[in-house]
């Protein structure tokens, strides 16, 4: 089987994933969290029942992996200002309290789990660092808003 023939179903699964799932998610940060949640903690392989039913599980897994890496690199390339906006959108669309999310994110740093496997270490460090900074900036803005309503 040639590489082109193998890539076509992955591309189709990827397009399907974009159209049916990712386009309905509010921002790239939320997309990254969603895609990371489809990855098995133990094996690192990706699972999505709907996508696996329409395509094959390994094709679905590959499409999820590609999408995960793509969103990760996209977010890591954002300026700090853009990332704070992403965080704002993510918090606005969440059903939980923004203050609670902020507290947990700053304490446990769960966004570290959202880093794909085998990405460049400097980019991974930049991502973690930028999220940490975005959280601190968001918190600072909230405190300022409370001080000067």
């Amino acid at each position: 089987m040639t590489a082109t023939v193998r890539l076509v179903p992955v591309q189709a699964a990827y397009d399907d994933l974009l159209k049916r799932s990712l386009s309905k998610i509010s921002c790239d940060l939320a997309r990254l969290i969603y895609l990371a949640s489809t990855r098995d903690y133990n094996t690192g392989s990706y699972h999505h029942d709907g996508l696996a039913a329409r395509f094959r599980p390994e094709i679905a897994g590959k499409a999820l992996e590609i999408a995960h890496r793509q969103i990760f690199y996209q977010l890591s390339a954002c300026s700090l200002e853009e990332l704070v906006e992403q965080l704002q959108t993510y918090l606005d669309c969440s059903h939980e309290s923004a203050a609670d999310i902020l507290r947990i994110w700053q304490k446990l740093e769960p966004y570290r789990v959202a880093i794909p496997v085998e990405v460049n270490p400097a980019v991974a460090r930049l991502f973690v660092s930028n999220i940490r900074l975005a959280l601190a900036i968001w918190r600072f803005r909230q405190e300022q808003a409370q001080k000067n309503p």
């Binding site: 400097a122 460090r125 660092s129 900074l133």
Partner: protein, 185 residues
């Protein structure tokens, strides 16, 4: 006016000093990397290379301007610390990649019967220049911050890509002798 032997001696001493600087910088970068929370590997051959746009992002001044706009000293301090560490990770990663490329090159040249002196000299000089730049970057990032050395970092990235490309070309030519002469730096 100084004579040629004195100039050669001074040049050699300067070169040795710069090499020492590069080695010290790399060793200290390793020590700092041990305190980081993202593991650094000595052999990152299987990992994605750092795309050039991220090098520009790490050393870009606009994020600093944004943080400075908050007028919060704490945020500014946090930013400086965080970005400095990211920049050091990048320098460490670049110098590791350069050393790996040269190790590979040495292995290939040992088996090759068709070495070109000029190509080899250019490669060694490029390697030396890169290691010195990495040492300088390491010190400058620590003392002045990454935003001040953006130009040098981008230059080092371009040079390291050139070295990788030259090594790749050399490998291709060595593997296929009929392409003789395509491996110049």
């Amino acid at each position: 006016m100084i004579g040629i032997p004195t100039a050669v001696l001074l040049g050699s001493v300067l070169f040795l000093l710069l090499l020492l600087l590069a080695t010290r910088g790399s060793a200290a970068a390793r020590e700092i990397s041990s305190r980081l929370d993202v593991p650094l590997l000595d052999d990152e051959a299987g990992l994605d290379p750092c795309p050039p746009e991220f090098v520009a992002r790490i050393f870009a001044p606009d994020d600093w301007e944004f943080v400075r706009g908050t007028k919060s000293r704490e945020l500014q301090k946090l930013f400086r610390r965080e970005r400095r560490l990211v920049a050091l990770v990048w320098v460490h990663q670049t110098s590791t990649a350069i050393r790996r490329i040269m190790r590979e090159h040495t292995e290939i040249t040992r088996q090759s019967h068709d070495l070109r002196f000029s190509t080899e000299t250019k490669l060694v000089l490029l390697y030396g220049e890169l290691m010195v730049i990495c040492g300088m970057l390491f010190l400058a990032i620590q003392s002045a911050g990454p935003q001040r050395v953006r130009g040098l970092a981008v230059y080092a990235d371009t040079l390291s890509q050139r070295l990788a490309q030259a090594q790749h070309d050399f490998k291709t030519v060595t593997a296929r002798p009929e392409l003789h002469g395509a491996g110049s730096v």
